[in-house]
Subunit: 392 residues, 2 copies
DNA sequence: CGCTGGCACTCCCAGTCGACGGGTGCCAGG
DNA sequence: CCTGGCACCCGTCGACTGGGAGTGCCAGCG
């Protein structure tokens, strides 16, 4: 599989090509088969990190087979198919008994009596927990990630491209939120007069992020006043944290000569809005189109999810909350608090810069968790690296 | 939102609500067939594309009734209903004859033999052309527009909110593109060192728009060099047009002392990308969710349209091209060159600032053109006014 | 005791049939 | 030129049916 003349181009072509009828995973299945064989013999009891009920090796194998088969085929999978795909040496009837057990444990369910089985949220959860610690992305894709994110003209552009890459690679909705800025140090604080009554306040952080706010100036403000304010600001604010700017300027206003006080107050007002609006504007969403193609979402439902994707503030909260620690997080179906996402899964990871931002993808619960996890990890790593490069 | 007694709002709500059980019809095929038939018989007016054939008053009334009834109800409308809704003093049979005539003229079509009639693209076109010159928005909505757009902290924020307002008011996909900047005058040109190897170039236009580009500095650049470059830039570039910046800085680089030349070249490089990326980043899209609710778009199709909405560059081109003159533009179905928009209509209008930007909405051909046109106009007007205020 | 093949059963799905009804086109008469 | 009447067309809906996939259970086997 790995001897191409032009690896990057080939991967790109493949990624582009198989979109039509979604054969998601090439990674997971063969790996599963191999691991299944081993565990069937060994049956080493797992360390049981959280409160998972013990599942014997064969049950685990069967569950794994059902999940990956259902993910790739999209149809309920029956006992016969399980035998084939998991290469089990037992009969379908035996598997049926096991499946019946798995069902009463809540890992799988049948859409209708006498249809095949489908993983439940709990089943997916178990599947994900049982995944090998860190699934790696295959070389070609990793190269593609590097190619897509290696260069960047500025942070914002980079994040936008990250989002685009993520959605292209996974064919899911991608979410990227910019690192919070309140801990970043200010490199520049500038006030630009646009017209007699108004000015623009510019704040540039050492991460390269630029915030701007228009300021309504008192009517009697002179050019000269403005110059003085500019100097004061530039001197006093530089080097401070963005989160402290409002307090700093407010204090300046109190101590300032009366003719400058009003102007400084206006500037302080402008910075008050800063932190509230802040993250909101910096959520990047890509690949909504993929949702429409997915049968998991009915019209009505689809519409609500798309609406959710437009509420940047909610999204930011959602993602931030899901990436509380450093490890990749998977929220499956009902595990999502948000009502509209009960049929969806979120795979997210944090990335570090000065402060952490996060990124992830959102898609139907029926997704190829192994590959998606690997991709999210790889993209997060690459993003972090490029960001580091950028502020090197 | 608007009060429920407000007729326009009621219409909008109804249109939005009954999407669920609307019939999907292929307008194109029967229309083509009909037109072919006509041309075979009549073969008189082949060469006249944009000229409207005369239509007697009753036919116009009937067409109008069919369009508005179909838009609000979503079902093919029969002769009997036309009589009711248009309050005609003739019998259904008579109307049937007229409808038959309208059909062979290509204004309406039947989805299947012996179903009611549905407007063709040509029918909508005629309907729109026959609309009273400028449909006004009712008071309540106009107030709402003002409320939504009256205040703004900066241009970008304003445009984002315009987009949101537009999609909420029309329940369609909204598109807003920022005014092109190359004619705007620069108020500030600043170079901020972020780390030894890199800096950030800031350009602020008198419209309040901020452009930023990161610049890779030559390794040997000193703090002092940077200060000198900063002064040169600040002096030489201020007041110029954004479109001329690249040329100006390139010239500066040639004339500069050798130790500054490389730095200025790097800055010039950064501004080269300016105009290309420019408009791309400043397209605001809102209300995608409304597409999902609409039966006019099949899954596959929906997905392609959503994808189109993510290609900002294409969108910008599309919209700019549609708003060549000052008047509101309506592109109905097949009138759109873009393949994926054959089932959609675009209603757009330009707004003026220093240079023109444009905004509009995109939705199924089956939309309430009168209300939508009025809304687009009102929003464009209000936006323009607020922008003017902002740079007063 | 666990595994197996066999078997009856359940239920979805796709296709067929027929009644129904809305809407049309045409025609003969005012 | 308009009208009521009438035959006809066709899509929709419900009922019915056969096929098929998958299950649960059971009796028998190693």
């Amino acid at each position: 599989m790995a001897s191409p003349s032009d690896p990057a181009a080939r991967t790109a072509a493949r990624v582009a090509a198989d979109g039509a009828d979604a054969v998601h995973l090439e990674v997971a299945v063969p790996a599963d088969a191999a691991r299944a064989a081993v565990e069937a013999v060994a049956e080493a009891d797992d360390g049981a990190p959280s409160e998972e009920e013990p599942l014997d090796a064969r049950k685990r194998t069967i569950l794994r087979a059902i999940v990956s088969e259902y993910v790739s085929r999209g149809e309920p999978v029956g006992s016969k198919r399980v035998v084939e795909v998991a290469r089990l040496e037992v009969s379908a009837a035996t598997v049926r008994n096991e499946m019946s057990a798995l069902e009463s444990l809540g890992y799988i369910a049948q859409p209708h009596t006498s249809a095949g089985r489908v993983p439940t949220d709990k089943g997916y959860r178990r599947f994900v927990d049982d995944l090998s610690a860190d699934p790696a992305l295959d070389g070609a894709r990793r190269e593609l990630v590097q190619e897509l994110l290696g260069t960047a003209s500025d942070v914002e552009d980079l994040l936008a491209r990250t989002s685009s890459a993520l959605s292209q690679l996974t064919r899911l909705v991608s979410l990227v939120i910019a690192p919070a800025v309140d801990a970043a140090r200010l490199k520049l604080c500038e006030l630009v007069g646009l017209s007699p009554g108004s000015a623009l306040l510019l704040l540039v952080a050492d991460t390269g992020r630029v915030e701007k706010r228009s300021v309504e100036l008192p009517a009697e403000t002179t050019e000269h006043d403005l110059d003085r304010v500019r100097i004061v600001l530039s001197e006093q604010v530089r080097g401070r944290r963005l989160g402290d700017v409002h307090a700093t300027i407010s204090r300046l206003a109190e101590d300032a000569p009366s003719e400058l006080r009003e102007v400084l107050r206006a500037v302080a007002d402008a910075t008050a809005r800063e932190l509230a609006d802040d993250t909101v504007h910096h959520v990047f969403v890509g690949g909504q189109a993929s949702l429409a193609g997915d049968e998991a979402f009915e019209r009505e439902h689809l519409s609500r999810v798309l609406q959710l994707l437009e509420e940047r503030a909610t999204l930011a909260r959602l993602l931030a909350e899901a990436t509380a620690d450093d490890r990749p997080t998977v929220r499956i179906g009902e595990e999502n608090e948000v009502e509209d996402l009960r049929a969806a899964s979120l795979v997210a990871q944090r990335y570090q810069l000065v402060t952490a931002g996060s990124l992830g993808v959102l898609g139907p619960t029926r997704m190829d968790y192994a590959t998606v996890l690997a991709t999210v990890r790889a993209v997060a790593d690459q993003l972090q690296e490029t960001l580091l490069d950028l502020s090197r």
